[in-house]
Amino acid sequence: MLDHILSILIFFPALAGVMGFMIDKGSIRAYGVAVAFVEFALSLWLWFAFDSNVSGMQFMENIALIPSFGINYILGVDGISLFIIILAAFFTMIGIASLTETKNEKNMIITLLFLEMTMIGVFSALDAIVFYVFWELSLVPMLYIIGAWGGPMRIYASVKFFLYTFAGSLVMLVGMLFMAYFFYQATGTWSFAILDWYRLILPESFQLWLFAAFFVGFAIKVPMFPFHTWLPYAHGQAPTIGSVILAAILLKMGTYAFIRFSLPLFPDASVFFMYPIAVIAIIMIIYTAMVAYAQKDVKQVVAYSSVSHMGVIILGTFALNVEGITGSVFLMIAHGVVSGALFLLVGVIYDRRHTKLMSEFGGLAHVMPRYATIFGIMLMASVGMPLTINFVGEFLSLLGFYEQSHILTLLAGIAIVVGAIYMLTAYKKMFFGEVTKDENRNLPDVNKRELIALIPLAIITIWLGVYPKPVLEPINNSVEAVVQLMHNKSTTEEAKSRIPNVSGVVISKTSTREAH
């Protein structure tokens, strides 16, 4: 069973989703929770069986689809993707478990199970076409979730989300086709397998163009400034569960893809574009943090803060050294946990008051002390308090980038200041002061169903902040392999010097010379 655990992880929720159509409306929630729990248990088993000393891919599966064009169904995980898969399974589980009363509950749960399939598919695919298929498929359930259960502007928001990201992905697809074509020219065989592509060394000029093509697709997904405007709409209109999944997992597809595709395939181009991208990342960090400060709607604050944190992840990725990339992968998980929790928390108050405007609240700490406490923990995690999960990621990302540029890191470090400004201000507006609105006087504190979701998140936030080693170690090993591969593959002098040579890890490589 372990040989096919990835396929099982991908298709079990989808099959269960199909079966879900036959389940009675009354018991669909129990069914959904059970399926998601089994899936989560399977993902934990994957972690348990995962050998963290191996830096390469594990649990590989390979089934021929269109062999003449080198398109195969290849799956595999390494330390970089493992934890995002677990996170996806985890968030689907607590998302379904904490789902509040919604109309068409059955459709929602089935959609979530399909979404889970696409998410896990993206993170375990090792064939560009399979990756692309899951990547695009993930848009459909999310389109449906926003469009069917969203707020007043849901159609606009969902169409914008779909078209924007879809347009970017098409450019990425063109890049993939070109990449396969270059591979064909170099070796005489077609292949879309990413591991094959890793061995191909492209001339720098090709790398630049292909990097740009992939960049468009990834940057819109992340979303990077100035492609971020779909996100506030999507978050603003999406139901709580949609925002949670979107922020926790879907955004990570972009940053994950940077590490899976852009860095190892185009090391010279990565070095070439490092400074421009770092500048964009810094703009993301500071600009969106300031925009977040100006928001009146607490959900928009969290939405913009997501963009700001994604900037730090991008920066860590383009540190191009082990510390930075490990930090950025860890921060992906951290940000998933924290922003997911924050969106859940916003959902809690929205369910009670049916408004997200901060001016409607005030003094909530008096009436909802437990809610205020959990929100406070997540707030502190969000601003990067040490011994919370976010700090480990942010610290390592910034530390990593410091090797590349001092000034830019100093600018990016403003994140910890501006982040504190908007988060603390929002917290003060919502929780501190006297209760001014009569509607707020008798709000019930968080109930059991909400605690089921929030308590585990709070525990993870602290646990991985204090003891990140179990997660950090596998990530570190895989990242070392990636960095070594980049160092070996890079052709320009500058790239060689910028990307460190991680001693002790040797990757067999085929140069173009050999490929010809």
Binding site: M290, A294, Y402, V417, P468, K469
Partner: protein, 638 residues
């Protein structure tokens, strides 16, 4: 010994978590008692460690577990008890034990009683991490942790707008400095390859001076925030919105001295860069004077003491910057005792006066509050540096150090500030405890604090009186690690003149303060000549710095944020929608072609055919005559 280290470190954590269990329940007396006992056990453990170190025992160094390890970076949870950290541990645990016990009385009627102890113990835990960590990352954990607890405690009465505002201000301002600190840590890591003190500091000796200078500057920026040095000082006075025991523990005795601790801990770095040290000393001397001047006219009891804290922190930085690390550490310790005592006394007065803070509305309280009066007077004498109290030994040594190092400007400033210190301290004492009972106008019936609160304060009183005798043993203890030099003025006569002169100067300042304020009879209403003078207004408004920050930083930030949001909607998003609408309107406009009229469509078909044919012809011709075209184009200079 490791056992005691762990007890000292984790007893506060246990205390905090235990108290946190009762956060949402009504007041429970036993929470306060158990928390105090746990903190007291940390104090006992620290004392055992101190005797161990004093007996010449080995430095206790433990590595608990790995925190972060990636690439070449390796950060453990490591803790070290050496001469410096054991001093800090003693100060922290002693003052916090007293403050915990005191708080049982002070927070008696507060419904957040349990929550208060959770936060307070959490603070002690963070502070212990800060001083005991054996690496910069661990220091940073404590550094941010005390910031968090300070946020929670300043904003403890979160229904008050000013309190939460002050809490956020403190947190954000500290964050600005923490950024500098973080950059300093990065510099240390990338240049020495480690964040462990025992690896990083020896490696610094081989680095070039420019790198070291940057390192020193960035780390000091971190210290400036925590220790509220100019220009990041405004948060400290506003932090007085928190409960008074918090002010005593956090904003006088321990947290604000973390910056000084950092400089002392990094003495090996700052020894290599004396020019940065001189800058630190100059800034310290400036802040000492600057803060003292603001304390002269303020009409808020707690703020006056806060400014005095700021001023004393300036003294400590002056000493540390001049390389007299042990003097700085000694003053830190002595200051913790008498300043905590002063604050707790102020807390008693506040309770008695029903949270009235203006000393002009008090007066004559010595009749009803004899114990508090004696304690605050002695604390003020110690603060002023009168022989034989604690301040005399620590502060005079700073002056001697400045004199012996031939920094006469710094010496002069510090000496002058000593006079100001004496004046504002006794202005406060005189206004509160002497003269007419002005509070009667406001219908207040003051009463002395609980007896056990006074008893809890008595160790501080004792230490404020006799801490001076520890000077020699302390010097001998830290000598080894801080490379200490005793500061001797060359001739005995000079020394004597200096000592006597200083004492007389300070004494005169005290007398002047008494003369002016001990018989004060009315509450100033802002109409007197002096209150309308420019200097008074300047000092009373804190040199208009908070106003300037509000006007030139906070407001523009608000406006810029709002403007950027507009930009986000009206430029960035609008251009995306614009691109989308180009396609949309192109479709809208061309759909008329699809009129459904066969005749029209046939016409379009013909147009299309003609266009395609002509394109084919053009490209065919161009391909055939490409050589000629190129030569013509190059002939045209294209």
């Amino acid at each position: 010994m490791e056992k005691y280290l762990y007890i000292a470190l984790f007893a506060p954590l246990v205390s905090s978590m235990f108290s946190a269990l009762f956060t949402n329940t009504p007041k429970k007396q036993f929470v306060g008692i158990i928390a105090s006992l746990l903190i007291f056990s940390a104090f006992v453990s620290s004392s055992i460690l101190l005797t161990h170190i004093l007996d010449g025992g080995d430095i206790v160094h433990v590595e608990m577990m790995t925190w972060m390890a990636t690439g070449n970076l390796y950060i453990p949870f490591g803790f070290v008890v050496d001469q410096i950290s054991v001093t800090m541990m003693m100060v922290v645990t002693l003052v916090s034990t007293i403050v915990h016990i005191y708080s049982i009385g002070y927070m008696d009627h507060d419904k957040g009683f349990n929550r208060f102890f959770a936060w307070l113990s959490a603070f002690v835990f963070s502070m212990m991490i800060l001083v005991m960590s054996d690496n910069f990352a661990g220091l940073f954990i404590g550094w941010e942790g005390v910031g968090l607890c300070s946020w929670g405690l300043i904003g403890f009465w979160f229904h008050k707008e000013v309190a939460t505002w002050a809490a956020n201000e403190a947190f954000i301002m500290n964050r600005i400095a923490d950024l500098g600190m973080l950059i300093g840590i990065f510099l240390v890591y990338w240049n020495t390859g480690s964040l462990q003190y025992d690896i990083a500091f020896p490696a610094m000796a081989h680095l070039d001076s420019a790198t070291l200078t940057w390192m020193g500057i960035f780390l000091f920026i971190g210290a400036m925030g925590k220790s509220a040095q100019f220009p990041l000082h405004t948060w400290l006075a506003d932090a007085m919105e928190g409960p008074t025991p918090v002010s005593a523990l956090i904003h006088a005795a321990t947290m604000v001295t973390a910056g000084v601790y950092l400089v002392i801990r990094s003495n090996e770095l700052y020894d290599l860069i004396p020019h940065v040290g001189l800058f630190i000393a100059s800034l310290g001397a400036f802040v000492a004077l600057f803060a003292a001047s603001m304390a002269l006219v303020n009409r808020d009891m707690k703020r006056i003491i806060a400014y005095s804290t700021l001023s004393q922190l300036g003294y400590m930085f002056a000493a540390a910057g001049l390389g007299a690390y042990w003097v700085a550490l000694f003053h830190l310790m002595a200051h913790a005792f008498f300043k905590a005592l002063l604050f707790l006394g102020a807390g008693n007065v506040m309770h008695a006066m029903h949270d009235e803070l203006d000393p002009f509305k008090m007066g004559g309280l010595k009749k009803v509050m004899k114990g508090t009066w004696i304690m605050m007077t002695i604390a003020s004498l110690a603060l002023a540096g009168i022989f034989p109290f604690a301040g005399f030994f620590s502060k005079d040594t700073i002056l001697e150090a400045a004199f012996a190092e031939h920094h006469m400007v710094i010496y002069g400033v510090l000496l002058f500030t000593a006079g100001l210190t004496a004046f504002y301290s006794f202005r406060l004492v005189a206004l509160i405890f002497h003269g007419e009972e002005r509070y009667k106008i406001f219908g207040i019936h003051p009463h002395e604090a609980y007896k056990f609160m006074l008893i809890a304060m008595s160790p501080l009183l004792f230490l404020a009186m006799i801490a001076g005798i520890f000077q020699t043993p302390f010097f001998e203890m830290v000598e080894e690690i801080l490379g200490a030099t005793e500061y001797h003025i060359h001739s005995h006569a000079t020394l004597l003149i200096m000592l006597v002169g200083t004492q007389m100067f300070v004494g005169l300042a005290i007398l002047y303060a008494y003369k002016k304020y001990a018989s004060w009879s009315s509450v100033p209403d802002g109409s007197s000549v002096i209150e309308n003078s420019f200097i008074y207004k300047l000092l009373y408004n804190q040199y208009y710095i908070p106003y300037g920050y509000e006007e030139y930083i906070v407001k523009p930030y608000n406006e810029l944020s709002a403007a950027l949001w507009e930009v986000d909607k009206k430029v960035v998003d609008a251009s995306v929608d614009g691109i989308a609408s180009i396609f949309y309107s192109a479709g809208e406009n061309t759909r008329d072609m699809q009129s459904g009229n066969l005749s029209t469509m046939l016409k379009w078909m013909v147009v299309g055919t003609v266009v395609l044919l002509s394109l084919a012809v053009v490209f065919g011709l161009a391909a055939r005559y490409s050589g000629e075209i190129m030569s013509i184009l190059s002939g045209l200079g294209v």
